[in-house]
């Protein structure tokens, strides 16, 4: 099982969700995040004083999948969030050792979906 973590532009969340649905991946968790990457930030100014904002608003997605679904998931994110511009984000894939569904204590592959 894999944990797929992705940072994407906030406005791409809906598109990513739609791509995931198409590939029948329905489980997803989302958090608000601030990111700093190749996208350099921008300058705000407040009362005449410059603020260098280099932590940009991002959305963090976590999807746990069985190994066989990993590729489809990555693909869905790439299609949904990719715009060929700096700031599109990153995907990280981590190994999961165990997964448990709290409701019925199912474990392993059967619990993840």
């Amino acid at each position: 099982m894999k944990l797929i973590i992705a940072y994407i532009q906030p406005e791409k969340l809906n598109a990513v969700k739609q791509e995931l649905y198409r590939r029948e991946i329905f489980k997803i968790s989302v958090t608000n995040a601030m990111g700093c990457g190749q996208q350099k930030g921008y300058k705000e100014s407040y009362r005449g004083v410059d603020i260098e904002v280099n932590l940009l608003k991002k959305v963090r997605i976590e999807i746990a999948v069985n190994d066989s679904f990993a590729e489809a998931t990555v693909d869905a994110i790439l299609v949904g969030a990719g715009t060929n511009t700096i700031g599109d984000g990153k995907i990280f894939i981590l190994p999961i050792e165990e997964c448990i569904r709290i409701r019925n204590r199912d474990t392993g592959s059967v619990a993840i979906g």
Binding site: P10, E11, K12, L13, N14, N32, Y42, K43, E44, S45, Y46, K57, V59
Partner: protein, 440 residues
């Protein structure tokens, strides 16, 4: 003889002191009359001014967090710029010497004003700003700030004063007997129709209407701060006591009590109607619709407030509350016109309703409506007035928005809209530090 002279002297004295005394007294009484008018109108003007805060809070509350600062700027600046332009030309066009009943033509820069004219200008400027500020809500979340400044100045300085002249400045509609006590048409319809044209010129916000193949689905874009929106409605209602009751224009016109009562009942009925309808239609009593309902009732009762009975006021309010729900739904789901705060429905539609209601529910000798045995005379005049003002505003703001679109541009870029106008137009954040999901 002595005696005669004495008698004459006595009578004389009596006359003189009496007159002297009476003169002083009548001077004092005359001053009190002026003072009562003055105090009443200035307090009312302050209350109406405060409605700017109400409009700002409603608009902020019913839109997204990323545009709050832009909305603040619009609501602040339409008053500030509007008051300067209403000083320079607006007042003159509205209340100057009438040119064939079409527009005023004197008293530019309110030159030579005495305290009476200062008082009247003060009371009128806050109304002019209200008309302009209504537009802001409908065009929220996607309008260029420069474009906003331009059109709000032109509405306060040109469009509003001219149709205002027709009705309140001694122009042709007032001659016909058109009755709009506190401005359902003069203020609210003008704002509402301008809002309609603006919204049409702008198009909907990104993501508001999504086409799934052939069917266009309307998506909800939630307001981010209902407590502020509700505060705004309470402030507006509070200010409306100045707006309506102040429109007696005199501190000794005791019908102001009548006005306050019908205003209260109309607003209450509007909120209740909107709540009930939304409950029936959507399954739950909708918060923002009920708030809109109160405003709808207020707008509806604004024209007829001084000439209807409490019962009349309640019916007018109920209909307004009903109208606002159906109108919001119709504009959104059928016409796909995207009005984030419901300004067109509240001010345009209910403004017309209020204007017509005068011709239906008028219950005084001078203004008698259809349901009170007055025939359709008054009603037709009201309809004519509503139509004329609608035509005037639709045409002029149509041209205005067209020109703006072709020159400075009316709408921000898609990227700016997604980022939010706070960052793109003012490089500011309204809720610094707060974690806000901005994916919508």
């Amino acid at each position: 003889m002595k005696y005669r002279i004495f008698l004459m002297g006595l009578v004389m004295l009596l006359c003189t002191t009496g007159t002297l005394f009476a003169d002083e007294l009548s001077d004092a009484v005359a001053l009190h009359q002026e003072s009562l008018d003055m105090i009443w109108l200035l307090v009312a003007a302050a209350l109406v001014f405060f409605m700017q805060a109400g409009f700002a809070m409603v608009e902020i509350g019913l839109t997204r967090a990323k545009n709050a600062g832009n909305i603040i700027m619009k609501n602040l600046m339409d008053f500030c710029a509007g008051s300067l332009v209403f000083w320079a030309i607006g007042w003159a066009l509205m209340y100057g010497t009438s040119v064939k009943g079409m527009f005023g033509s004197s008293q530019f820069f309110i030159l030579g004003a005495d305290s009476t004219m200062f008082r009247d200008w003060m009371f009128q400027v806050v109304f002019a700003a209200t008309a302009a500020t209504i537009v802001s809500g409908a065009m929220a979340e996607r309008t260029k700030f420069t474009a906003y400044l331009i059109y709000s100045v032109i509405i306060s300085g040109l469009i509003y004063p001219i149709s205002g002249h027709w009705i309140w400045g001694g122009g042709w509609l007032s001659t016909l007997g058109f009755h709009d006590f506190a401005g359902s048409t003069v203020v609210h319809s003008v704002g509402g129709w301008a809002a309609l044209m603006g919204t049409l010129a702008l198009g909907p916000r990104i993501g508001k209407y999504v086409s799934n193949g052939k069917k266009v689905a309307s998506k909800a874009i939630l307001g981010h701060n209902l407590p502020l929106a509700s505060l705004g409605v309470f402030i507006l209602w509070f200010g409306w006591y100045g707006f309506n009751a102040g429109s007696t224009l005199s501190g000794t016109d005791l019908t102001m009590a009548n006005v306050a009562v019908t205003t209260t009942l109309g607003a209450s009925a509007g909120a209740i109607a909107a709540m009930v309808i939304s409950w029936i239609k959507f399954g739950k009593p909708d918060v923002s619709m009920s708030l809109n309902g109160a405003l709808a009732g207020l707008v509806g009762i604004t024209a007829p407030t001084a000439v209807v009975t409490p019962t009349g006021a309640i019916i007018i309010g109920l209909v307004a509350g009903l109208l606002v729900v159906f109108s919001v739904e119709f504009l959104d789901k059928t016409l796909h016109i995207d009005d984030p705060v419901g300004a067109i429905s509240v001010h345009g539609v209910c403004g017309v309703w209020g204007t017509l209601a005068v011709g239906l529910f008028g219950a005084t000798d001078s203004v008698r409506g259809l349901f009170y045995g007055g025939g359709i005379q008054q009603l037709s005049i009201q309809a004519l007035g509503a139509l004329a003002v609608c035509a005037w505003v639709v045409v002029t703001t149509g041209v205005l928005f067209f020109i703006i679109k072709k020159t400075t541009g009316l709408r921000v870029s898609a990227h700016e809209e997604m980022t939010g106008l706070d960052l793109s137009e003012h490089s500011a954040e309204s809720y610094s530090g707060f974690q806000i999901f901005t994916n919508m």
